[in-house]
Symmetry: C2
Subunit: 454 residues, 2 copies
C-alpha cells in the first residue's frame, strides 16, 4: 500500500492517487505522508477531499503540521482550521512557534479566538487542557423529537453525539441522555423523565490522569467537564482519554528507569534533550554509589586477607537489587492502578516478607549447593582463603538476609514516597538498587566479621 | 459515601440503602461491596434493582462473583445471566471452577450455550476472546427509517448501538454506518448510499494487543471481528480495548522488572503464585552474576595490591547498569508504541552513541573532579596504593567507556530480541545490568593492567 502510493507520487499520477487516498483512513494516510519529500507534501495534501484533509492534518506530527501551515495560503489555512474540533485546534496551536500560532489565530473569528485562548490557559495536566467545547446540549423540557431535531442541526459540528447533556439556562449541568435513551423512548417523551441526573463529571482543573482512570472505571465514552459553579464548559472524549493513558504510562516507565519524562517520541527527541532527561539521575545515583564504595573502603584491610570474598560482591549486589526492584515495581504499578493505598502498608509488608522468605530460601540453597557441591568438592575451584566452608556460610547467609531486606525496602519505599507527596515511580529499580547495594555490603561484612572472625 | 452505606447495612436500614444505591454507579457499588461481610453480601445484592444488579455483578471480582453464584437460587442466577452481555458472561465463566461454570451453563438456553462454548474456545490473547456477539446488523437495501426501526427493536440487548454493521445474507461484512450518519441523512435514504465500505476489521485470531493499538490509532468506539471467510461474528467495544491496554502495560512493566506476568491484582495473587512469578528470573540472574564474580577472581591477586580499586566496583557497576537500562527501557517502550522497528537499529545506535558521549563525558568529569579535587587534594582521604593519580585515571576512563558500552548494549539488545522473536521487554534493566556488570569489570581490569602495569 505504502509503496504503491509513494510510487504514484513519484510518477505524478495524481488522479489515481486521489482515488486511492480517498478510500483510506486518515491515520494511515498521515503515517505514509511521513515518508513523503517535503516539496511534494503540499501538492499531495491538496489532492485530498476537504474533510479527509483536515482529519489527516490532525493525525500528523507537529513538525509536518508546521511545514504545511507555513506553505498554506490564508484561505487554505482557514479551510483546514474550520474543519477541526476545538481540542485539536488548541493542541496544534500549543505546539507551534509564536509566529505560526499568531497566524492561525488571525484566521479565526473573534469568538473562536476567545475560546481558544481560554482553553490554552488551562494547566497542561488538567481536564480543561484536553476537553473540547463542541457538544450537544439539550433542555429538560424538550421532547425526544425536539432533541433529535437539535442533534440533526448541530450534530455535524460536534465530536460525539452519543452523549447529550441537559443544561439549564445558565448552562448548569442537570443530566445526561444517551442517543440510545432517545432512540428507545417514545417521540413525545420529555427529557426530564428519561435523563440520568446522576452524572459523573469533573472539574476543569482535575488531573487529566484521574480523568483517564475514570473512563476506565466507569466505561465512559465521554466525560462532561464543569467549572467551579457546575456550569458545563466542555467534554473529554474517550479517544483523548486513551491518549492520556498512553502518555502517563510512558512517563511512569521512564521514571522507573531513572529518566526524566520527555514529551516527544523517540526519534523526535533531540540528542541534547535526551541527554538532559538522563543525566540528572545518572549523576545523583553515581554520587550515591560512592557511599557504597566507602563501605568497602572501611573493610579494605580485611578484604585483602579474605580476597575470595570480593568475587561474590557482584552476585550479592545484583540479586539484592533484582529482588528489591521486583517488589518496588509491583507495588508502584499497583499504586497507579489504585490497588494499593498507604493504609495497606502493613498488609503489603506482611505479604512481601513471606514471599521474600520463599525466594531467599531457594536462592540461598541453590547457591549453597553450587558452591559446596560443584565449586568446592567436585571441581575444587573454590579454595577460599583458609576457611572455605565458613566463607561459603558467610555468602549464603548474606544472600538470605539481603533478599529479605531488599523486598522490604522495595515494597515500602514507594508507598512512603506516595504518602509524603513524592512520585512513587521514582522509587523503582535504580534508587532501590543503590540503597540495597549499601545494605547488602554492610550485611556481608558484618557476617564476615562474625563468622570469619576478621 | 462508603461509610454511610456500611453503616446502613450494619443498622439493617434496607429501605434507605436501596434508595441510596439506586442512584449510584455500578462500579462504585461493586467497590463498596468488597468491604461487606460475606454473610451480608447476598442480602444487600438482592436489594438492587434487576438491571443495576447485573451491572454491579459484572464489576465485581471473580471471588465475589463465585460467592454470589453459589448462594443464588437457579431463578436468580438466570435473571442475572439474562441481563449480561455475551462477552461478560464468557469472562465470568472462564474464571469459575468447573462445577460453577456447569451450573451457569445449565441456566442458559441451547443457543446461548453453543455461543458461549464457541467464544470460550478462542485463544486467551485473541480478538475472539474479548469480543461480544451482540451488535446491530443492518441490510444495505434498508432505508434510514427502517434501520432506526431495527435499532429500536434489538438495541436494548446490544452493548453499543453507535456503530451499526451492514451485512449480506451470509453475514459478510459490507460496510458500516454510524448513528450519526443515520441521524444526519434523510429518512428515505438507502443504507448502501451512506455506508462506509472501507471498514477496518480484524480476524477472530488477531492478537488482542494489536486490536487495542488499532483502537488508539483509528480512534474507534467499536471494532468488527470477522472469521476467515470475512463473516461478521462479533465486535470489540472500546471499554474492553482499554482493559486490554491496561493489562498489557502491567505485563510489560512486570517483564521489565524480571517478573513473570501474573493475572490477578496484587492482593488477589497468593504468596506462592507471587513467589513462582519472581523466582525464575532471580535464579537465572543470580547464576549469571557468578560469571561476573569469576572475572573478579581472575584479578584477585592484583586487587590485593591495588585494594583501593575494589571500592569503585559498586559505583562503576551501578552507573553502567543505570545507563544501560535508561537506553533499553526507552527503546522497549518505543518498540511497543510502534515508534522503533528493526530497520531503525542503526539510527537508534547512532543516536544512543551520541547521547552516551555526552553522558559519559559529564559523569567522568564530575567523578574526576570529586576524586582529584575533593578526595585527593582537599580532604586527602584518597591515598591510593602508591599511584593515586594513575588509579584515578583508571576509574574515570573505565567510567567513560562503561557508560558508552552500556548504552550500546542497552539499546540494541531489545531490538535484536524483537527481531529473533523474543519479547523485547525481557531485555530490560535486570538482564542488561548483568551483562553490563561483566563488561564494565573487564574494562576496569584491562585499564588497570594497562595504566598501572599490574
Amino acid at each position: 500500500m505504502e509503496e504503491k502510493i509513494l510510487e504514484l507520487i513519484e510518477l505524478r499520477k495524481f488522479g489515481e492517487l486521489k482515488t486511492m487516498l480517498s478510500e483510506m483512513n486518515a491515520a494511515d494516510i498521515a503515517q505514509i505522508f511521513e515518508e513523503i519529500d517535503e516539496k511534494d507534501l503540499l501538492v499531495v495534501f491538496r489532492i485530498l477531499p476537504k474533510e479527509l484533509a483536515a482529519e489527516v492534518f490532525v493525525e500528523m506530527d507537529s513538525d509536518m503540521q508546521q511545514l504545511l501551515i507555513e506553505a498554506f495560503s490564508d484561505k487554505e489555512l482557514r479551510e483546514v482550521m474550520d474543519e477541526l474540533f476545538m481540542d485539536d485546534t488548541v493542541d496544534i496551536i500549543d505546539e507551534m512557534p509564536a509566529t505560526v500560532a499568531k497566524r492561525i489565530l488571525k484566521q479565526t473569528d473573534a469568538n473562536t479566538r476567545r475560546m481558544i485562548n481560554q482553553l490554552l490557559a488551562y494547566p497542561d495536566d488538567s481536564a480543561g487542557s484536553i476537553m473540547t467545547t463542541e457538544y450537544i446540549d439539550l433542555k429538560k423540557d424538550m421532547t425526544v423529537d425536539a432533541a433529535f431535531d437539535r442533534i440533526r442541526k448541530i450534530g455535524f459540528d460536534t465530536e460525539t453525539i452519543y452523549a447529550c447533556y441537559v443544561t439549564d439556562r445558565s448552562r448548569h449541568l442537570l443530566g445526561i441522555v444517551s442517543i440510545k435513551d432517545l432512540l428507545l423512548n417514545p417521540k413525545d417523551e420529555v427529557l426530564s423523565n428519561i435523563m440520568d441526573e446522576n452524572v459523573i463529571s469533573v472539574n476543569t482543573l482535575e488531573d487529566k490522569e484521574q480523568v483517564a482512570m475514570d473512563f476506565e472505571k466507569y466505561d465512559l465514552l465521554a466525560m462532561p467537564v464543569v467549572d467551579l459553579e457546575n456550569r458545563l464548559v466542555g467534554i473529554v472524549t474517550v479517544d483523548d482519554a486513551i491518549d492520556v493513558m498512553k502518555e502517563e504510562v510512558t512517563e511512569d516507565i521512564e521514571k522507573m528507569a531513572a529518566i526524566l519524562p520527555s514529551e516527544h517520541s523517540y526519534f523526535k527527541t533531540g540528542i541534547f534533550e535526551t541527554f538532559k532527561a538522563r543525566i540528572p539521575w545518572l549523576l545523583l545515583l553515581m554520587i550515591s554509589a560512592t557511599f557504597t564504595g566507602a563501605i568497602i573502603s572501611k573493610f579494605e584491610d580485611k578484604l585483602t586477607v579474605f580476597a575470595g570474598l570480593i568475587a561474590f560482591i557482584p552476585m550479592l549486589m545484583d540479586t539484592g537489587g533484582n529482588s528489591g526492584s521486583q517488589a518496588s515495581v509491583t507495588v508502584i504499578r499497583s499504586i497507579s492502578l489504585g490497588d494499593i493505598e498507604f493504609s495497606d502498608i502493613l498488609k503489603v509488608l506482611w505479604k512481601e516478607i513471606r514471599v521474600a522468605f520463599c525466594c531467599s530460601a531457594v536462592l540461598a540453597i541453590v547457591n549453597l549447593g553450587k558452591l559446596l557441591l560443584v565449586d568446592y568438592w567436585l571441581l575444587g575451584t573454590f579454595k577460599g582463603d583458609g576457611k572455605p566452608l565458613l566463607e561459603i556460610a558467610v555468602v549464603c547467609s548474606t544472600l538470605f538476609c539481603t533478599v529479605i531486606v531488599a523486598k522490604i525496602v522495595g515494597c515500602s519505599l514507594p508507598i512512603i514516597a506516595k504518602k509524603i507527596g513524592f512520585d512513587p515511580a521514582v522509587m523503582a529499580s535504580p534508587l532501590i538498587t543503590t540503597v540495597v547495594d549499601a545494605i547488602s555490603l554492610m550485611i556481608y561484612f558484618s557476617f564476615a566479621a562474625m563468622i570469619l572472625g576478621t
